[in-house]
Subunit: 196 residues, 2 copies
């Protein structure tokens, strides 16, 4: 399988690690890239990721992706949503657990959007995993709100799983699988066109 | 005094009302204007307001201002800060009161940044008012977190005050006063130059 190189614009090495593990299955070599980031305020992860990817593309002029993700808690009307990393930095998992004290409805979803921009093409792939907010923080792997999120059908939090285990469920893994499948299809159709 | 017309890009009529009350003292006529808004994610209100004002100026090509403000709570590391309106919409004053349950340090500041963009000129004016987070919500005036903010030297919350009373203290009023003073100075210096 042909190896395509793809640049990921992010300062978060955990995200690169998780994405790499998925994309290499599709013959894609992921490389972390630096660019000035334009991150807009929006309730749409797709819009945030796509705007950032377009802006990064103007600087790098290479096929690249930008990923954005957030934790959407049902009982908090979707808070912290697209501002999850800011909220994590300010009030942490303890703050969110405090907001959830005495709240019976623990449903929450992690969502991710991966925007791909290359010459003449723009695509956004999304992924989602639903589950519940744990009663207390558990585990030390992953990052952000991983210690308080338990995916459906599991009893462990994301922070109690290895990267490979987390990727079996995760929103980010789902979005990256869709990207990987699309890249493979594109490559095959380009190959058959050039051979046709 | 010459009346200058200035456009304010916002969807929040409360902000226009508060700003109008200040700016008319300086001979400035404030008009609410519509434009597509580019609001970036940043911990700096100045940067958010200036970027939005530049973007609006590209559309309107008239002297305009964009204001951004937030409530910065000491014990929550500055949360909700620039994301105050999003946080208000999602978890409300009740959510913030819950985060502050059992917290002795109630110190907080409201901050505002007003960015002015006109042909060949860009300026940002800031204002701040410090005080404390009330133990419970009081009052029905104003908007956002006004019902839980008590400015230093007062016992009432912002939501228990009229626009005129709030403007005696408020972060927004302070930023707008600085803008008003600057506009008056600019106008006098332009007038003396043209007469000199």
């Amino acid at each position: 399988m042909k190896v395509s190189r793809l640049y990921m614009v992010t300062g978060n090495r955990h995200k690169v690690e998780e994405a790499k593990e998925i994309l290499e299955r599709y013959g894609v070599e992921l490389v972390q890239a630096e660019a000035r980031k334009l991150e807009i305020q929006s309730e749409s992860l797709e819009e945030i990721a796509l705007t950032a990817a377009r802006y990064a593309y103007l600087q790098l002029r290479k096929p690249l992706i930008v990923e954005d993700a957030g934790l959407f808690i049902e009982a908090l009307n979707g808070f912290p949503g697209p501002y999850s990393s800011y909220v994590y930095k300010k009030i942490g998992v303890e703050g969110v657990l405090k907001l959830m004290e005495g709240v019976g409805d623990r449903r929450a979803c992690f969502k991710a959007a991966v925007a791909y921009v290359a010459p003449g093409v723009e695509r956004v792939f999304t992924g989602e995993v639903c589950g519940r907010i744990a009663r207390e923080a558990r585990g030390s792997r992953g990052f952000g709100f991983d210690p308080i999120f338990v995916p459906e059908g599991e009893s462990r939090t994301f922070a109690e799983m290895s990267v490979e285990e987390k990727n079996r469920y995760s929103h980010r893994a789902r979005a990256f699988k869709r990207l990987g499948e699309w890249i493979v299809r594109e490559w095959w159709s380009m190959r058959s066109n050039s051979e046709g």
